[in-house]
């Protein structure tokens, strides 16, 4: 059987209104920007809305609204 990592859920998989706690990042370079914007491991985020075509998405992070592309959101892994 080929080695296959179990796909972790990421912020990109959230539904509108769903909440989750950030666990880690799958992309180091992207994580620098996300950390600066306050997306820290252990922080709760809430998917607040999606753009009409489902991408980009808007998150609520520590009291403000942050928008990002779906591909960027996919690098934020969430606690199960």
């Amino acid at each position: 059987m080929p080695h296959r990592k179990i796909q972790k859920r990421s912020v990109a998989d959230l539904k509108v209104g769903e909440k989750a706690v950030i666990e880690s990042f799958s992309d180091q370079w992207m994580s620098l920007k996300l950390l600066e914007m306050g997306c820290l491991p252990g922080t709760e985020v809430c998917l607040h809305c999606k753009a009409p075509l489902g991408d980009p998405i808007c998150l609520n992070v520590s009291g403000y609204c942050l928008s990002m592309r779906k591909s960027e959101a996919a690098t934020i892994l969430i606690e199960p």
């Binding site: 950390l35 809305c49 980009p56 403000y64 609204c65 960027e72």
Partner: protein, 703 residues
């Protein structure tokens, strides 16, 4: 300095009022907004408004400036005191930047802003405790209404007199041995020794960011690379740890100074508005309406002002003609200078309206929603959601539009935006469109309510937009990405626009347009007038004498007309036009249009003025009583005997002007923004080929 949307610019405007000017930071093209204010009766200080950033690790060109200044105490703009504006309603994230600036060793003052918004969100902040925890002066302000300015000035005065700098670093990279797993202490002290730095955090910046530091020479940068190698220092990893470390401490500080009585799960009204404005159907419908409104404003609302200015210039010209003695100098003043200045001033209403609306959208917070709305679509074309602002601004003028691309972090997306923005029909093309459409498109109603001329006009704008998107798509295939594209962006809460802000933005953009474009246009008008009025040797007199003897039997008026047009043909400008004629013949143009093409190469808005000059020089009846349109309609093609401006010629010209990059200011701006001639030349070439090819097709098909 401060985070974006923290009220930094409001504070700057409150402190300086209209005593501000826009310049450039040395070596870079980022606009530097500076101004002066009085601390007390005797002390005047100069204040610089730095671009808003989230951290001192820059993500785009305009953010780079902040780090460049703060990491280099020798920089001419290095501050005596750094006033950091902090948004109290988002304290954690704002304190990240604040703690970094503080750690760089600059004397700082925290201007704690937006306490009213924090209070609305049921957050109470104890500023005194915050000041004690951080060891820096904290002043409560309300930048929107100008509260707390006096206290802030007192604090600035004290910090200048006796700077108090926190003794310990908020985050000390030298103490992070455990965190990083390397000998950070050794590495940091090595850097400090080699560069005579007194500050651990500054030493860390040398390590992480030295590639972007223009003040370091090449050997110095290589040496830093050597140190990184020696200690096996992982920059990205360490930077991530720094951010987490800072947020941990910030969390502890915030816990002791903020009382959070926020009820959980209550959506703010900003979020409720978002649900409508980002709605799959309503979102686009509202955006389309806003765009229509902008167009309506530029074309319809600005028209009375444009007409007024036009009439005013014409009146001034006529009066001067009557009052002043008939001499070449008078002609130069009226036909050359005043006509040229009038050509610039006439754009002011449209530009003012556009910037009024764009800055209203930005102030209110809607513009970032538009970026979110459009990002997915723009990405298909190699652009970014942030490209929307330049493309919309391009409808007024490409110069500020191209400068607005600086906020796009990815070089590739920014470059593509720069390359295609001039295809958006700017307001300088409008007079050309107006006059040619009026000439060949009948004024009638189609489909019951649409004005045919308006439909054609709209079509030209759409043609420009489509061409921009197609060109972007082609460039996307050609240009390879240097770095990854990033769209992580804060959506500010909706706010009422501040009218003084809007006013200042409009004023700035109008004045910079008048100065930048104005000089070029006036200069060209004068040169053109001279070239069209004089010829080599006595060729003009020869032409006049020849006509007089050949057509001696015709009426005096006809002879005068002949003389004038033969003289124009013999002038320098006429000769240039003649040389160009073989090249533009396939497009349906004659040498007179050739002159207009050459002269409008530097600025397309000159076209209408040029044909006005050419046809008024080229006909004897002073030309003051007939409009340009009538003159064009009366122009006869000597070969066919029919009117010169057939629909084929007019449409060929229209298409040519939609695509052609005829604007010196734009080329100069692209040169500055891309730091070289390569891209402006590529842009000029592709747009010229596109213009020539399409004009050729249009003429040959319609002929």
């Amino acid at each position: 300095m401060g985070n974006p949307n923290s009220g930094k610019s409001s504070l700057f405007n409150q402190l300086t009022g209209l005593r501000q000017k826009v310049g450039n930071f040395p070596g870079v093209t980022v606009d530097k907004k500076s101004g002066t204010a009085f601390l007390n009766e005797t002390t005047e200080i100069s204040i610089i408004d730095l671009p808003g950033v989230y951290s001192i690790y820059p993500k785009s060109v305009d953010e780079q400036v902040v780090t460049d200044i703060l990491a280099n105490p020798q920089h001419p703009d290095y501050p005596d005191v750094a006033v950091v504006v902090v948004d109290a309603s988002n304290l954690n994230r704002n304190l990240l930047l604040f703690s970094q600036i503080q750690d760089l060793g600059v004397p700082v003052i925290m201007a704690l802003n937006m306490l009213d918004i924090a209070r609305q969100q049921h957050l109470e902040i104890n500023a005194v405790r915050l000041s004690m925890q951080l060891g820096v002066p904290v002043v409560k302000i309300n930048a929107r209404i100008g509260e707390g300015l006096e206290l802030l000035k007192v604090a600035i005065e004290q910090q200048i007199g006796q700077p108090t700098v926190s003794e310990t670093l908020f985050f000390d990279p030298g103490q992070q041995t455990v965190l990083a797993g390397h000998d950070m202490k050794g590495l940091i002290s090595d850097v400090r020794q080699q560069y005579q730095l007194t500050n651990n955090y500054l030493a860390l910046q040398y390590l992480i960011q030295h590639d972007g530091f223009s003040f370091l020479g090449r050997p110095q940068r290589v040496k830093l690379d050597g140190l990184i190698e020696k200690y096996q220092f992982d920059e990205i990893d360490f930077q991530a740890k720094e951010t987490i470390g800072r947020y941990q401490r910030i969390g502890e500080v915030v816990k002791t100074v903020v009382t959070d009585k926020r009820p959980l799960n209550q959506s703010t009204w900003s979020q409720r508005i978002d649900r409508i404005l980002l709605h799959p159907v309503w979102g686009y419908a509202i955006f389309a309406t806003v765009l229509l409104l902008i167009f309506q404003a530029i074309f319809a609302w600005a028209q009375p002002f444009v007409d007024g200015i036009d009439a005013g210039v014409a009146w001034l010209n006529g009066t001067l003609h009557e009052q002043l003695p008939d001499s070449p100098l008078t002609d130069l003043l009226t036909d050359g200078i005043i006509a040229g200045v009038g050509g610039v001033v006439v754009f002011i209403p449209q530009i003012a309206f556009l910037f009024l609306l764009v800055s209203l959208l930005e102030e209110s917070g809607y513009m970032s929603r538009v970026m979110v709305l459009m990002d997915r679509i723009m990405r298909q074309f190699g652009l970014n959601g942030r490209s929307v602002v330049p493309l919309i601004s391009g409808v007024a003028c490409a110069v500020p539009a191209i400068m607005a691309t600086r906020s796009i972090g990815s070089w590739r997306e920014r470059l593509i935006t720069i390359l295609v923005t001039p295809l958006m029909s700017c307001s300088a093309r409008l007079p050309i469109y107006t006059i040619l459409i009026a000439l060949v498109v009948p004024e009638k109603t189609v489909l019951g309510f649409l004005n045919l001329q308006g439909v054609v006009m709209m079509g030209l704008y759409l043609l420009g937009l489509v061409a921009a998107l197609v060109a972007a798509y082609v460039f996307k295939l050609i240009i390879k990405a240097k770095e990854r594209s990033l769209f992580v962006m804060e959506l500010p809460t909706y706010k009422w626009p501040r009218w003084n802000h809007v006013g200042i933005t409009v004023w700035d953009s109008v004045t910079s347009f008048v100065w930048q474009a104005g000089r070029v246009i006036v200069a060209i008008s004068i040169v053109l007038w001279v070239l069209a009025s004089y010829g080599p040797g006595d060729s003009l007199e020869q032409a006049e004498n020849r006509v007089r003897s050949e057509y001696a039997n015709q009426s005096a008026e006809q002879v005068e007309n002949r003389v004038a047009s033969e003289k124009l043909e013999a002038s320098y400008a006429g000769r240039f036009g003649k040389i160009l004629e073989p090249v533009i013949k396939p497009l349906g143009y004659d040498w007179k249009i050739g002159i207009a093409l050459i002269s409008s190469f530097a600025a397309r808005e000159v076209f209408v003025g040029t044909i006005a000059t050419i046809y008024s020089i080229g006909s004897a009846d002073e030309g003051n009583d007939s409009t340009i349109r009538e003159k064009l309609a009366a122009e006869i093609n000597p070969e066919t005997g029919g009117p010169m401006y057939t629909p084929a010629v007019a449409f060929s010209l229209l298409v040519f002007y939609v695509f052609a990059m005829m604007c010196m200011s734009t080329i100069a701006t692209v040169y500055r923004e891309t730091k070289g001639w390569k891209w402006p030349m590529i842009q000029l070439a592709y747009m010229s080929i596109l213009a020539y090819g399409s004009a050729f097709l249009v003429y040959q098909l319609m002929k």
